[in-house]
Symmetry: C2
Subunit: 392 residues, 2 copies
């Protein structure tokens, strides 16, 4: 029996985890405990054992365990990995360098792994990310606010995370995209499924310019509980969650409360008290959430979490440890002044989307700064490795 | 020389204080200190002494002291008291039973006395009062919210205090009046001066059904500083201040911050973040104020101040100590069920406005309760003196 390893993830373990995304529903803490006890390979071995052979799995009833077994026997993880690879995607596991370790705060409810589409490094982007969530059936006011938060946060170098739904989610993603910014869509279905259907174009654009993330394997469709559980990933991935419009007892409030339980910042944008779509936000603001009215105020709040802020206490990566793609982008920046993403791409010999993805990663790590549409090398001595003199 | 007395106020002191309202601008702490040192009679004697006679007044420059002297020599307090009496008004001083002792929290900036119009007892009304303030140039949204807070608070037995200005103030007063409730207008001019002019009818109606209050003597006109200093009286008089709409750096925020300094509750009603008229409120809410969206939430906040809540720790007045007018109203209420204000007036042989004034006083003291439009005897044993069996 293999035990799980915290180091780089081998093929066998990766395949087992990919298979488990077909077996285990998001947030299943029974399965999370089994995973901890037996490791992904050991757990899959137990689940794939033919009926009648005694297996030491305890927790839910035998009937439910039978469900896990049936799904485990049907899982074809190689085929899923290939299907996502065709779309330019990949499967990332705990232990991978790209794994966003913030998700470990979810304990046994941590995703088994994540299916990703998009060129950016999820871990680095998540270091400097904010969730913007809210009502599907938002008002024009909510859509306007979500859009301007999305673009304002992107302009300030923050990654906008949301759920790709109608209403507030879509407006936030579009705002970030429109200002050439970084955005992550966390889906409640497979990364190859466009839900809602009318957001096919938007989700495709996010996969090109940003990242599309899912716990569920390719082809999986959303359900009510998958939406709710998707929200915990949005909450855990980000430094804070802003709720723009939400009715009382809405899913966005679930995300905000999950964020709060995880020690993330929760924020709310107020609206008219006569609007039922602001009532949920106001309820949140009457509890512990911070009232915010624009992107600057959001940045003020999330920038204060010392333990998550990479500039203050995060890992300091020596420039030599950067990958070749990031190094190329860093080399492309002049020693003085800034360039826009398109110019950086041209100099580095890559596409604008690729260049932007790397620039956001470099920003998360403190190597570069964004001022308006221009990117430049970071000043100041917080990262000694971040000096062109020291690096070259 | 007479020293000031904490007991019932004699004629000489009352006249001196009435005169001082012509001499001293609202909130003048130099004068407040002199008053503390010399008493009102002693201070007026010093100020009226002919020039050349040495007087021990220190603080502001001699030129400014000369101003006090000129105004003191010109003051005709009997005439002012008569002028206000013609309107059915009176002059109330510290030491009077009707003096709202909350104002003592203003220290040396405490009003010298208050000119009043209206039949109710200011001290008793203030025990259960909330300020509703906001922008003069409010939006239809602000006016709607202020009106519904005014009526909602009145329906819950709270006295609505505001400044009789255009916009939020006027809407709050009108809301309280419209639901047959109690409201107090604190003016920045004399109680006989209708400012703004277009609120002549409103202020007259408040004087009939509620109370009109001013620090300034009859005939005095408002100035910018008088408006600002009036706000401290509104803040000190009430248990809490609700700001409905306010621009950044507006007078309503001055009231709210004064309330906060005085240990009162500050509350704000949010609005669209796209509205400059909500920006000041949002600023307040991002600091220490409590977000409220309706009258119930306001009552929840102000009802929590144990030290001011008459039902919990306030003075318990034996029923025998009530004045004859209040006793008559109390007698008019049936032992079971409720009556509306008009029926109570009919039974007690008085006017509806008089009856309502007394009912609100009795409510402040815990003798009666209001349920919708009906008034009834308070239940429960908090005030043993409040039992009809015990009283009759």
């Amino acid at each position: 029996m293999r035990t799980p390893t915290a180091a780089a993830v081998g093929d066998e373990e990766r395949l087992a985890r990919a298979a488990l995304t077909r077996v285990v529903e998001p947030g299943d803490e029974h399965a999370g405990r089994w995973l901890r006890e037996h490791g992904p390979v050991g757990l899959m071995e137990r689940l794939r054992a033919r009926a009648g052979i005694e297996v030491p799995l305890s927790g839910p009833g035998e009937r439910r365990i039978e469900g896990y077994r049936i799904r485990a026997q049907a899982a074809l993880p190689e085929r899923d990995i290939d299907a996502v690879a065709v779309l330019g995607g990949r499967f990332v596991c705990p232990g991978d360098l790209e794994w966003p370790t913030q998700l470990d705060d979810l304990g046994d409810g941590r995703p088994v792994g994540l299916w990703l589409r998009g060129g950016a490094d999820l871990r680095k982007w998540a270091l400097r990310s904010v969730a913007v969530v809210g009502a599907r059936a938002c008002t024009p006011y909510g859509a306007r606010i979500a859009g301007s938060l999305g673009s304002g946060l992107a302009e300030r170098g923050w990654v906008v995370v949301s759920g790709a739904a109608h209403g507030v989610d879509g407006a936030a993603h579009r705002g970030a995209l429109a200002s050439g910014g970084a955005t992550v869509a966390v889906l409640a279905c497979g990364v190859d499924v466009a839900y809602p259907r009318s957001h096919t174009g938007l989700i495709g654009r996010i996969a090109e310019q940003g990242l599309v993330v899912a716990e569920l394997p390719p082809g999986a469709h959303p359900t009510r509980s998958r939406f709710v559980l998707r929200n915990r990933v949005i909450a855990a991935l980000t430094r804070g969650t802003v709720v723009v419009e939400a009715e009382l007892r809405s899913g966005s409030l679930v995300t905000a409360r999950a964020a709060e339980r995880l020690g993330r910042c929760t924020m709310g944008v107020p609206g008219p008290v006569t609007s039922g779509l602001s009532a949920g936000v106001h309820e949140l603001l009457r509890a512990d959430a911070v009232l915010v009215t624009d992107a600057d105020e959001v940045v003020e709040v999330v920038g204060d979490i010392g333990e998550l802020a990479p500039v203050r206490r995060g890992p300091v990566l020596a420039r030599d440890l950067l990958g070749p793609a990031e190094s190329a982008i860093l080399e492309a920046l002049p020693s003085r002044g800034g360039l826009d993403g398109r110019e950086v791409a041209l100099r580095a010999g890559t596409t604008p989307d690729e260049a932007l993805g790397r620039l956001y990663e470099l920003q998360s790590l403190g190597f570069v700064e964004r001022h308006g549409s221009g990117w430049q090398l970071a000043r100041g001595g917080q990262h000694p490795s971040n000096s062109r003199r020291g690096g070259a």
